[in-house]
């Protein structure tokens, strides 16, 4: 699973951080940092995060 966040769109709503804290976090400056290649066990949480993101910034692909 490959996760990408479109930085042009992401507006730090932080919904993804609530839904999938193992994959999405905020750094000291409240900027989003994330694991581009999370383990498969995180898939349901990542899918929830993608649906919850209010600006559709999260993409999941299979590569």
């Amino acid at each position: 699973m490959h996760v990408t966040v479109d930085r042009g769109r992401c507006d730090i709503h932080a919904q993804c951080v609530f839904e999938a804290p193992a994959v999405f976090q905020l750094d000291d400056d409240d900027e989003l940092v994330y694991d581009e290649r999370p383990e498969a066990v995180h898939r349901p949480a990542v899918e929830r995060a993608a649906t919850s993101c209010p600006v559709a910034a999260i993409r999941i692909s299979e590569r």
Binding site: D11, I12, H13, A14, Q15, V17, F18, P21, Q25, L26, D27, D28, D30, P44, E47, R48, A50, T51, S52, P54, V55, A56
Partner: protein, 410 residues
């Protein structure tokens, strides 16, 4: 269960479809939606930069193949005895399980005031946005009535486009109810800093202009030149079609803490009114994208026979000019605000307390604290022994940034 019907095709519906399939439900799913669009995200509709296409807002397209979508059609009656839904064209749709996800509609200006003028509009859906885009090409003076989240966000967005903005609010501060006086004052200052003219404690009582709108008169006699009036007066749950169904309608569809409205019927999203975690007897209806997604999935499981108490962390954010507010749990003027820390550039982190109990937190600039220290806040406060509270039973919880965070853990 062989036939699930979902009424309303928004994020709650889309999330329910995905969860039904995730739970290996093999039967049919029919979704009936009044708008001509597949489910989409509404939050960007009021924020800079305004979206220009439906594709930018679309939710996960995978759901398209998982259900049959009957779009541009409305349910207008529910016959629970015969488990049949009546559509606008007269079609009868039988169901085994029903998911109510019809959301809310915008409250409008009384007809005697707007008299069908095309320069008076509101913003709820993509259709409204398309009209707004058209208007904004041609106008320079915009009046917005209502300074809640929608009105305040729109004021900021439209100022950035270069129009003049007058923001009219009946309360003494913008967002006073959902945020409380301290933060509401900061929002007011933020509007003024960006040259949004605030008219507080006022409402609109007349529109001027014969062929087209040219001014709006306030109740104190002030006349504001205007080419466009946008109303942002809050919303009304879409439950008209449920009249006579026997379901409990009380500013939304009443559900129990698993999302059930009646046997075989569940409700999710903006339309659903849930039991409040405390004090017992109160109820709450949230209007958040993230809640619609979480509730849609939850009630899908309830419908399939796996009912559990709903316990989702309520998290909300809004961007108004340069202010980015994030909150978790319950917020608003009914609670006491306690500032935890402040920093340069107006950064702040504060807690909301009710009868000594921590019920919510809000920040501008310390988002990470919310996502760490406070992330389990609603559940945590629910586990505290129930406090004797001064809030009258039956009184509604503050909405907006507030809302439900969890339900009673029986």
């Amino acid at each position: 269960m062989r036939r699930v019907v979902i009424v309303g095709a928004g994020p709650a519906a889309m999330s329910a479809v995905a969860e039904l399939r995730r739970q290996d439900y093999q039967g049919s799913i029919l979704v009936i939606g009044a708008e001509p669009h597949m489910p989409y995200r509404r939050p960007p509709l009021s924020k800079h930069p305004l979206p220009t296409s439906h594709a930018q807002l679309a939710l996960d397209q995978a759901g398209r193949a998982e259900a049959t979508w009957l779009l541009g059609r409305s349910a207008h009656h529910l016959d629970r005895q015969n488990r049949v839904l009546l559509l606008d064209g007269g079609d009868e749709i039988p169901y085994d399980g029903l998911i109510i996800a019809t959301g809310v509609r915008a409250r409008r200006l009384p007809g005697r005031l707007h008299q069908g003028r095309p320069e008076v509009m509101t913003l709820r859906g993509f259709g409204d946005l398309a009209r707004l885009h058209g208007r904004l090409q041609r106008v320079t003076r915009v009046v917005i009535l209502g300074a809640g989240f929608l009105g305040s966000e729109l004021a900021a967005t439209i100022r950035r486009l270069g129009c003049s903005v007058d923001l009219v609010e009946r309360d003494r501060l913008p967002l006073l109810g959902p945020l409380g006086p301290v933060l509401a004052q900061r929002i007011a200052d933020e509007h003024r800093r960006h040259d949004v003219r605030l008219h507080l404690g006022r409402t609109v009582d007349r529109l001027h202009g014969t062929d087209r709108l040219d001014a709006v008169r306030l109740d104190d006699g002030t006349t504001l030149p205007a080419d466009l009036l946008i109303t942002a007066l809050g919303s009304i749950p879409e439950t008209g079609w449920l009249a006579g169904s026997g379901l409990v309608l009380d500013d939304g569809v009443r559900v129990d803490n698993t999302g059930r409205a009646a046997p075989g019927i569940v409700a999710a999203g903006d339309v659903a009114r849930w039991p409040h975690p405390w004090p017992a007897g109160e109820s709450v209806r949230a209007e958040h994208h993230d809640e619609a997604v979480a509730q849609g999935a939850h009630v899908a499981r309830t419908l399939l026979g796996d009912p559990a108490p709903y316990a989702h962390t309520l998290a909300f954010s809004t961007h108004i000019h340069d202010m980015r507010l994030h909150s978790v749990g319950f917020t608003g003027k009914n609670y006491r605000l306690h500032v935890v820390k402040e920093g340069p550039g107006g950064r702040m982190l504060a807690e909301y307390r009710h009868a000594g109990r921590l019920v919510g937190a809000i920040t501008h600039g310390y988002i990470r604290d919310l996502t760490t220290t406070y992330r389990d806040l609603p559940a945590r406060s629910c586990h505290e022994p129930s406090a004797t509270s001064p809030v009258h039973a039956g009184q509604r919880a503050a909405q907006g940034a507030g809302g439900r965070g969890c339900v009673e853990h029986a």
